[in-house]
Amino acid sequence: MVASLDRTIATPSFTRRMADRGVIGVLAILVAGLAGYLLMPNNLALLTQMIAVAMLVLSIDLVTGYCGVATLGHAALFGAGAYGAGIAAVHFGITDPVAMTAVGLLAGAAAGLVSGFVILRAHGLAQLVLSIAVIHLFHEAANKASGWTGGSDGLSAITPDAFFGAFEFDLWGVTAYAYGVILLAVVFLALQILVRSPFGMLARGVRQDQIRIAAMGASSHSVLLRMYVISGAVAGVGGALSAISTQVVGLDSLSFTLSAEALVMLVLGGTGSLYGAMIGTVVFMLFEDTLSAANPFHWLTIVGALLIAVVLFAPKGLYGSAAAFAGRVRRRPA
């Protein structure tokens, strides 16, 4: 009936399909995880924290990079996950690490629902201000509820069980690190499926033109709120990982500073791409760690200079600009 149906649909290359399905990303995470273990065996705590923050940055990417919502309050979701897992362990005796992660996921999702509900009332600058209000409210709530959270002393004495009774959380943090790498790979795979799905496509549409989305009969607000809940779940898993590995949760996990730094990491790596979010986190945190050791007085200056350089010369971020460059090279006729 229709001529087009007879035409063969060009099959994308094998590498392309593997990249689309997230197989390459998962392999890259596992290889990078192994490399981190071999290269920095004495610094696994830092690497584990890096993974936890990477999940926060990924969760910001979902709402900012994919949906176009600017937020400076996203640590609220991460902190909710961290306190959720910590409180479950300290006050309710839920010390199984996987169960703690699940509690963190739910707490993060709930915080995502609440903060999304507030933040999505407004647009543009007002939205940004609301997001700052949200992080301050979460911070203050955790500070006041010191019976549950330990207030400004932090919530300590979180002692997760050994994994399946076999893998203890040792002093060197090997178990926590391995758990972190596996969690990140699972989260990445889930998000890769999400961003390729019809819902992911709809979210990209919301970022680009909400009037067009309405003209198609879809509700931008519903898409954004759902994405906020998913984003909260991801950040919550990151927070839970942080609680499990450091065995303490402090108010800094619910801070404006962490929110802003995580957004900077995202911009550094490149918004709208899962790889960009992860690369930005790794580069920023390695930079921070190396420079603050080498020059404790001026490292922030250098971080600032790096950021300016990226924004001016690679506005799509490290990964985004590299991907755009690779695309141009590939297309150039030989």
Partner: protein, 254 residues
């Protein structure tokens, strides 16, 4: 014939400026209506009122007997009232295939699915390919929208509207900005739309209007000054007055 779509006594003011003044229009299935009028006559405002992008000060819009005046744009689309835009509104870094697939998935209620790629669903892909092929966009289906010509983007606007399977379609200058050499393609696309679909088209290109429309409504300063057959419109004194001002008399005197 029973009317499918009816606008009754619609009014809208922006400040002191009356942009829509007691406008009533009704359409039956299969109607081909052209809404014309000089610049600033309130044509696009009328479309925005009808689709729910703007709220009227008074008046009603009914679709299939249901009053939709208080519904938002998305709810009206669900009920079969679909529009295209005068200035193309597309997602710049998505492909034509993704646009049409998203519209088909949305219509079928599957656009919220969080797993699986649309290309894995044969029934979606068949429909998407058929629509793209009908509009001559099949070979461009994997390019990003910002890489295709403006005329092709206009066709993609129509493709998305078709993918939503409307009962009433409002086309806001479908050929605006398209080179003369490509308007034939757009006309062919319009001619291939389902016969029972009611279409209201705004355009400035009178050749296109006269070939397409079976009925013409003329809007001037927010008021309907003519509603009738295309062959009568050019002879109407009020229409000539609205378009040509005082030159209208000079023309008839000559």
């Amino acid at each position: 014939m029973k009317s499918l779509f009816e606008v009754r006594n619609l009014n809208k003011k922006f400040g002191g400026l009356v942009v829509t003044n007691d406008v009533s229009i009704s359409m039956a299935p299969g109607d081909r209506l052209a809404l014309i009028g000089p610049n600033g006559a309130g044509k696009t405002t009328f479309i925005n009122l009808v689709t729910g992008n703007l709220q009227p000060d008074s008046g009603d819009v009914t679709l299939g007997g249901e009053n939709v005046t208080r519904l938002g744009p998305a709810s009206r689309v669900h009920r079969g009232l679909v529009r295209s835009f005068q200035v193309t509104r597309l997602f710049q870094d998505m492909t034509p295939e993704e646009h049409v697939a998203l519209a088909v998935l949305q219509r079928e209620g599957h656009s919220g699915r969080m797993f699986g790629h649309y290309s894995g669903r044969a029934e979606v892909m068949d429909e998407v390919s058929a629509i793209l092929d009908r509009l001559g966009l099949f070979d461009l289906r994997h390019l990003k929208v910002r890489e295709i010509a403006y005329g092709q983007q206009r066709l993609l606007e129509i493709a998305m509207a078709m993918a939503l399977k409307p009962r009433v379609l409002l086309l806001d200058e479908p050929a605006a900005g398209v080179p003369q050499s490509e308007t034939a393609r757009i006309e062919a696309a319009l001619a291939s739309l389902p016969a029972d679909l009611a279409i209201l088209m705004i355009d400035h290109d009178m050749d296109l209007v006269f070939r397409f429309a079976k009925r013409v409504v003329v809007l001037a300063a927010g008021t309907v000054i003519f509603d009738g057959l295309p062959k009568d419109v050019t002879q109407n004194a009020r229409v000539r007055e609205a378009y040509l001002g005082s030159y209208a008399d000079a023309g008839s005197a000559a």
